[in-house]
Symmetry: D2
Subunit: 288 residues, 4 copies
């Protein structure tokens, strides 16, 4: 039965056909796993099925290996892509930043206080400015300067670090660099970026200035997966803040930072809790 | 597979034990019913399980009777209380009002335009004022005046009308009468009331005046099931509106009406779509 | 002193120079007018001054004519454009619609219940569908069909009607026609349109479908003045609604209608209460 | 004219009589001070007038002393209580905390990055836990343990420290102690507390547990001035967060912290920018 112990989380997706739910829940019942929460959705446009299950194992010897041994074969019949997350597993997250620290400060605060159940083994920046903040939290900080000429080498360095630190998720916490297509491809699907506008409005540079020029009454932020199309990756979360005539671009920047950090946090949390599925250019998010 | 046709909706609750999900999904799989969406939740406090399934029958001869024949026995083993809603079924809803018409007007608009997929066979009021509005929508309007002396008779009349019109849900759309304990008991669990405050704040009379006196910066509304404890039934939905020093009680009333009607609509919609479960003094709401 | 009686409203704008506030408030003091509320703002970009004053006349013989006689000369020294609104004046508003009635229904409800203190002497549409709704409210309904060929004539008819009915404000309450440049110019500054997206995102046709394709997590609406640049007039108000993966384009349309009608109402109310000033491509809104 | 330089801020209140605005604006005009923004409000219930003016002095020798010399006499005729804030003045703010650090961390972040234009010369706590956080920001941290027996002495120590550090505003950033009536009186009007509920709902201890028990769909926070009536001081700002059935009390606490810190920040910012006036049990807030 549902208890205070953290659950295992099973997630999967596959083409929509009869029996997709049953193959999962029948296995759970046979294994005497107790389901705390289940959420499934069939997208009628992409004809694709998505499921997320929180459960407590019935058997104290339950492991990923035993699960795989029992489940993989049937899952293959459904062309099911699936993942299983241990309760005690803390994803290894690398944070990339430039000079703005509002998102970094927020993520580190939630990390330090246990609100974000992750490991942050490394912070990478093209500037040295935020090193003291990283150090106060006891996290290695790699300063990798970048110029147009050195971009390929710098990005290669980042890729190397991500591998060395065994990173599962990359968070671009206002990393103010345009990634090369090669880098975008490398990060496709496992990196989250925060853009400081309600995409697709105000793409590109200086979105708050664009928003002010246009005289909008709301500014916002968009957290999305990185893919090979700049500012066009699948959206995970968005947030807004109202603004008025008495606010100038610098005020929009200041007000917007609160939205950015909360929106980025929400996206990271959804990802960490295995609530997000990429569905073509869109996402399925089983939020709570 | 998920299509544009409206789904059947299965809902159930029972004590939390292993196999509750499986008993439902296994039946669905055996019957070749296609599950569009499934949502389950186990409340660790009440140790109770709740499930809602949208599905398309695999068999074109599928009926409630065949479902019951196949499913009831196994459900009984789990002490499962369950319901099945046909796609084409429109719940029969009675609306009770006094003189304020903002909630009634809103519900009738959504009813007329198909946003609320219900039947409204009758409107009942203790005042004659809103008869023209009802008539324009072609709905019978029963004017049942009430005084302290006639309350028992008037309530008995209402009960009779609800039976005659075969009502499944009663909506108190600002029906400004304190119901008798007997009437509350009669309506327990199948009547929704809108209270014009963020309960439990500002219970009782003139909540906007109370809120203004207190100098709050937000007013709100609460839609809840009627039960035997006035203003204390299980909450289904709440909404808020910000207010400032330049707003007087009459402004709060005016601004609050927008919150009331949207909050009441949300609660009615959740109920109609079988998204709400009463869980002791609380509710489980599988919102979308 | 501030009382429950509705105030006169004075509004003005002019280039930013010293003494702009004083010229107004000194006059008010000399006339023994009691100021209930004053709000001024100097926009540092356009170097323009905006002021709005609610006041109770000190002299029971106070009229617009006496005000003008006393004030106009000094105002001219500041190149001040000013307006004075009588408490009892109800602006004459024409509503243009096509087939969608959610905005019209909302405006008529607020008109009927006194929440919008206006006159609606005429409703104009290119379709006959909403005539019964207009008639129930006792408002003349002009059906002016339109085709590409007849657009110039139809628009000329509208212009004629607006003049005949002595209209002060035109509200395009989902009037699904692209106005000709000539018509836009005619309506410049005294017509409010509701666009069903958070402009400048999703301009043009079928914005909810565009939004769904993009996978946004929020849809919205924008109320703006008509000017000679389609979908680019100065923004008065914006509103949003959150959406998720389980909502298809038709659901976005349905959810969005609630935002549209509230956003349009807010814009109309701000305008009617003389809270909005056009400031180039932007607006100043002294909201309350 | 309005420029990017920070303005002087004049604020005043007095009984509502004719001429209150004029006495201020006439002085400003005579002194050739340029008014960037003016906001006044007359409360018809308390019959009290409130005004806030942002301005740029016309004379480069402008000082508080010259202002007072010229203005005080006329202000006295109106029984006007007034204040003048220099652009470069940074209010001296003391923060009181216990063990929860989310509000402290947020305020320190905004202080460090210049978003809150204040001095924080001292942090006081009844626990030693947050000393490292204070030290990283270079702020003296006074650990003053408290017990029922030592409360009078401990509070006397706090009062002494506030005087020594020349404190203008005290922020109770989740200082989990019930202040003595004497202490409340001492802090009346110049201390801001954050309560973790939408007052007046859920007063007293463990408000998130109370909220969960009640099954509310929204939790919130209230920032208010301390006065002699616990949890009843004039409200400055409120914020909310939606919650659902899947959130337990510990989740409400976690979600609520985001509301608390933003609500407290808003209240402190309004106070610092001289936007808040106490009006009996209520406040006037000229927000932007």
């Amino acid at each position: 039965m549902n208890s205070k112990s953290k659950p295992w989380i099973f997630t999967a997706s596959c083409p929509s056909i009869v029996g997709t739910v049953d193959v999962v829940t029948r296995y759970m019942a046979n294994a005497k796993n107790y389901i705390d929460e289940i959420h499934s959705f069939d997208d009628r446009e992409s004809q694709r099925f998505f499921i997320r299950v929180e459960f407590q194992p019935g058997d104290s010897d339950f492991t990923e290996a035993t699960f795989a041994a029992d489940f993989a074969e049937r899952a293959a019949e459904f062309s099911m892509e699936w993942q299983l997350a241990r309760p005690e597993h803390r994803q290894r997250v690398a944070i990339l930043v430039s000079k703005y620290d509002h998102c970094l400060n927020d993520l580190l605060y939630r990390y330090r206080t246990g609100q974000l159940n992750i490991e942050i083994p490394v912070i990478i920046s093209n500037h040295p400015d935020l090193k003291p903040l990283a150090e106060w939290h006891g996290i290695p900080y790699h300063h990798l300067p970048i110029s147009n000429e050195t971009k390929p080498e710098q990005e290669a360095e980042i890729v190397k670090l991500l591998a060395e630190y065994d990173i599962e998720l990359v968070v671009l916490a206002r990393y103010m660099q345009v990634l090369s297509p090669k880098m975008c491809e490398h990060l496709d699907g496992w990196a989250i970026n925060i853009h400081h506008s309600l995409l697709p409005g105000f793409k590109g540079a200086r979105p708050y200035h664009q928003a002010w020029e246009k005289g909008v009454k709301m500014v916002g932020a968009t957290a999305h997966y990185v893919n090979n199309d700049l500012d066009e990756g699948p959206i995970i979360a968005q947030g807004i803040q109202t603004v008025g005539h008495a606010q100038y671009p610098e005020d929009l920047i200041s007000k917007g930072q609160d939205v950015e950090r909360v929106t980025l946090f929400n996206a990271v949390r959804y990802h960490i809790e295995k609530r997000v599925f990429i569905n073509g250019h869109r996402t399925v998010v089983f939020s709570n």
